[in-house]
């Protein structure tokens, strides 16, 4: 079995964000980058499946981005990926989901992957499109937003998260692509021996020009901080004073404190 896991490196979402010079993306300086949270579930599920099948499947990790992306790739390899493909692209952020997915599909087409895992969305862009587009371009079955995954004899049982706590269960035959949601599993921490082993694993490097030349179908016209609605009171300073002020406000503005 050949497995592909698509990952993205994104900034820590606790960071402060400001627009870049031409206001088409955020300024990357001073940001700490890490693997997209949803992609960690994707890597973990792939590794769990490999373990379930006695180590037979080969897991390829793919990521698109600049030099720094290698750090996220190395983490995925240390978690249990076998080899990796880095599509080196400094202008990745100017590409829309269609272009990103087209590059991935163009790479995957010749490789004959049986199963592809992606996160359900990236934490920075949050479009939730790339995985589904890849599946459609490859003409394989796809289910999104998995919080449960099991595999038996060529069939996946996917538990999808729906609204209001309900889940929908569906079966898909390989080849297939699934997108992973928070709650699917608990991603492992790479152990030191595995981090050392990962250093020896192959990371092939490709350029966008070797893959798809698709033009964009959507473009970011501008990026900016949301308009502050204001209204809310901000209490800063010493804890004791904050406590007293909040107590005063609650007594004045709500009827719940007696």
């Amino acid at each position: 079995m050949k497995i592909l896991v698509c990952i993205k490196q994104v900034p820590d979402m606790e960071s402060r964000f400001r627009p870049n010079g031409d206001k088409t993306w955020y300024d990357e300086s001073d940001l700490a980058f890490r693997m997209n949270e949803y992609d960690e579930y994707a890597v973990e599920q792939a590794v769990q499946l490999k373990e379930q099948l006695g180590g037979e499947p080969e897991i390829t990790v793919l990521s698109i981005g600049p030099e720094r992306t290698v750090e996220a790739i190395k983490k995925a390899l240390a978690m249990g990926g076998d080899r990796a493909v880095h599509i080196r692209d400094d202008r990745y952020y100017q590409k829309d989901p269609w272009q990103i997915a087209s590059m991935i599909a163009s790479y995957a087409k010749g490789e004959g992957f049986d199963l592809i895992f992606t996160g359900m969305q990236s934490q920075d862009r949050g479009s939730a499109q790339v995985g589904v587009i890849v599946a459609e371009l490859l003409g394989i079955a796809c289910a999104t937003t998995l919080v449960g995954f099991s595999y038996d004899g060529g069939t996946i049982t996917a538990k999808r998260e729906l609204e209001g706590g309900i889940k929908g269960v569906a079966k898909l035959k390989l080849p297939a692509l699934v997108t992973c949601q928070l709650g699917l599993n608990t991603p492992r921490y790479p152990t030191l021996p595995n981090i050392m082993k990962a250093k020896k694993k192959e990371i092939a490097s490709l350029t966008p020009a070797e893959l798809s030349g698709e033009a964009e179908l959507t473009a970011t016209a501008a990026i900016y901080p949301p308009a502050k609605k204001g209204g809310g009171l901000v209490l800063e300073g010493e804890i004791g004073i904050q406590v007293d002020r909040l107590m005063g406000i609650l007594k004045e503005k709500t009827a719940v404190l007696r």
Partner: protein
């Protein structure tokens, strides 16, 4: 401009979010037609043409078949845009339709900004306006686009009215790569937060499971219930029955205290109707500050015990 609206139907019922699609079309100033894979037994109140396919035959979740049904309606109507709710149904189906039409997709629109589509980025700390490019729509007026709208962002202004003109859609075959097995009900709710007057919720910012009792102590000092955000529930720190948000409970207490909750959209959707919202967060820029009446900028584990002591006095 003409919009094709894709309604939602689950467990034998029309979903109310369907009406938000019409509200969005109105805001766009677009004419609309609607498509629903549903049933005659629960039709939307809608003034206009409704393409209806039978959910009994084509399933409630069968994206392969639903895509073909949408494409049939597209062929008949030549819309400029196709609009879905950004939900487990919409984000699953919309990109499939976009690829088939080679149309650009704009995901989770939260507002219209001078007619341009506005979406969130980076946990709602930034906004983007996104322009569809790609090929022109059949009308030639604008690029053909697939759009998904954030649930709750475009509320209907009044009670929906009207009886749709039905036009039925059929497919010649029902072969599909996906077999829908069924639903799993929400877990039994141990706590009914919907009736609570005061809720004190724990978020990721409380740091670890051992700190949750500190938040629970404030809840009980105020005579309220303990709530939680999703990451805290997924980490196993608090039982799912306490979860507030899209995939948990929707609440409207008189007082909501969010402790270490950054304010993901899914959480806000579950609690923004609270009468009074207090957020305690060390990040002054956390999105929860946008809807909080009071934002206390502090370390949760320092502020909450001090405040609890004050309440107990």
């Amino acid at each position: 401009m003409k919009a094709l609206l894709i309604g939602e139907y689950r467990q034998g019922k029309l979903l109310d979010t369907t009406y938000e699609l019409k509200a969005f079309a109105d805001r766009l100033g677009a004419d609309s037609v609607m498509l629903l894979v549903g049933s005659d037994a629960d039709l939307p109140k809608y003034e206009g043409r409704l393409y209806l396919a039978d959910a009994g035959k084509y399933g409630e979740y069968n994206p392969d078949l639903h895509k073909q049904l949408v494409l049939q309606a597209v062929e008949k109507e030549n819309p400029d845009c196709i609009v879905f709710v950004h939900s487990s149904y919409g984000w699953d189906l919309a990109p499939r339709v976009a690829v088939a039409l080679k149309a650009g997709q704009v995901s989770e629109i939260v507002a219209l900004n001078d007619g341009a589509y506005e979406v969130n980025a980076c946990n709602a700390k930034l906004r983007r306006t996104v322009t569809p490019k790609g090929g022109l729509a059949p009308s030639g007026a604008c690029p053909l686009a697939v759009l998904t709208i954030q649930a709750g962002a475009f509320s209907p202004s009044g009670e929906p009215q009207g009886a749709p003109q039905l036009e039925r859609l059929e497919l010649s075959g029902t072969a599909s790569a996906i077999e829908f097995v069924g639903y799993e009900a929400a877990e039994q709710k141990g706590v009914d937060l919907s009736k609570a007057e005061i809720i004190v919720s724990a978020g990721r910012g409380v740091g670890k499971k051992d700190n949750v009792p500190v938040i629970a102590a404030l809840a009980s000092a105020l005579g309220g219930e303990l709530g939680a955000s999703r990451p805290v529930v997924d980490a196993g720190w608090v039982d799912h029955s306490h979860q507030v948000g899209t995939t948990g409970q929707t609440v409207s207490p008189k007082l909501y205290v969010a402790c270490g909750i950054s304010g993901a959209i899914q959480h806000l959707a579950g609690m923004k109707k609270a009468d009074f919202i207090v957020a305690i967060n060390k990040d002054k820029d956390a999105p929860i500050g946008e809807i909080a009446d009071v934002l206390v900028v502090a370390d949760v584990m320092q502020f909450v015990p001090a405040f609890t002591a004050k309440c107990a006095r």
